[in-house]
Amino acid sequence: MYSQIGINKRNTILLFIIFLIFIGIFIFLINLFFFQGHTFVIIAAVIAVIFSLISYYSGTSIVLAMTKAREANKKEHAYLINTVEGLAIAAGIPKPKVYVIPGMQINAFASGRSPKSSLVAVTEGALEKLNRQELEGVVSHEISHVKNYDIRIMLLASVLVGIIIFVSEIMLRSFLFGGLRSNDSRSGRMNLIFIVIGIVLLILAPIMAQMIKFSISRKREYLADASGALLTRYPKGLADALRKIKSDTTESKIASRSTSHLFISNPFKKKQWLVNLFNTHPMLEDRIQKLDAM
């Protein structure tokens, strides 16, 4: 179990470095291909920075609003609150805020910038359909996301992907609406090839960024499963919960594509094309198998 956490941590760091290099190359190429002057780049950069700061600092409240979560109260959700507090003690982190999401699907997520400003949210369905050991397993998974700083990494990753999408969107638009004029002075064919490559890059970049983000997210899920089991010393609880999630067919009303990576299991049940590359979560069977083997 310990070695698995170690391997996962290394992989995630590696992925994150790749991500950063990727962004660097992307920006470098944009500059190389499309711009003689820098005014536009500077304006875009300023907007991107402001945009990302806003989304980094208000990301958590946006997610809460999107999922319609409300804060759990001691009277109704005594067991949930006690479990979150207990597992936070076991993980040695400050107590996160506890939220309940309306809806009968079994799911949960954690968010925040750091363990000090974190939250754990659980659906009503999870409270109703899971027994105590299973709920404890699910909460331990979320607490591990907080403890391992996954919440910060995923928030950052979302922001970085956001920037890439934002920048490539602006570039593409400025092309389509007459941005080509600035290249008139340059000589013909070579320039055209550059432009084609550039446009292809602009289209591909956001997709690739998403794929890297999903890959980070998948690795993080395994790590959170493993360290969650380390907290409860009872991997079966989470494994049973995942089994229930697997056989549960309730469709989610609250999750959207943009928030799906946050949840303990993919809120979208239907099989999709390219499941693996674009999935935020590893296959449930695989996770259950790993937990059972612990």
Partner: protein, 182 residues
Amino acid sequence: MDLIYWALIILGVIILYIILAYNSLIVLRTRISNAWSQIDVQLKRRYDLIPNLIKTVQGYVKHEKTVLTELTKARSQLISGSMQQKAKASNQITEALKSIFAVAENYPNLKANENFKMLQEELSGTESKIAYARQFYNDSVMSFNIKVQKFPTKIIANAFDFKQKEFFKTEEDEKKNIKVEF
């Protein structure tokens, strides 16, 4: 001249290492005392809840008054003492609480009492928090002890008098028992 440079570099590296190792030991030791205060907070919380429980249960239970005196006795032993004494008293309270909740099964009126239900939830919540706090404490002690015993941090630990810490001991299967729902 070259030789002096090399000697200085090596000396610098050694000093840097000592500082880093010393600091990591301090961090781990602080974590242990922090973990201990977490246990203490939860023990205190349970200590405060018990009189309410006794008051609530007293009115209902007719024949099994001994479980209540057991609990009162165990509680009174918790107040002060070394860690091992506290661990022992804490285990006794856990046992006494378990038998009270077992007895309560025979009294439907008591079981239906709102106050009792709330106390039961609170106490079992506190109980598992104690278990989790103890787990965190023991984990912290373990990583500290490993560091103190392992070469080369062992040398620094010896030089600055870092001693191995004691685990918060309990019966082997207690954690399992706590998981059982009352």
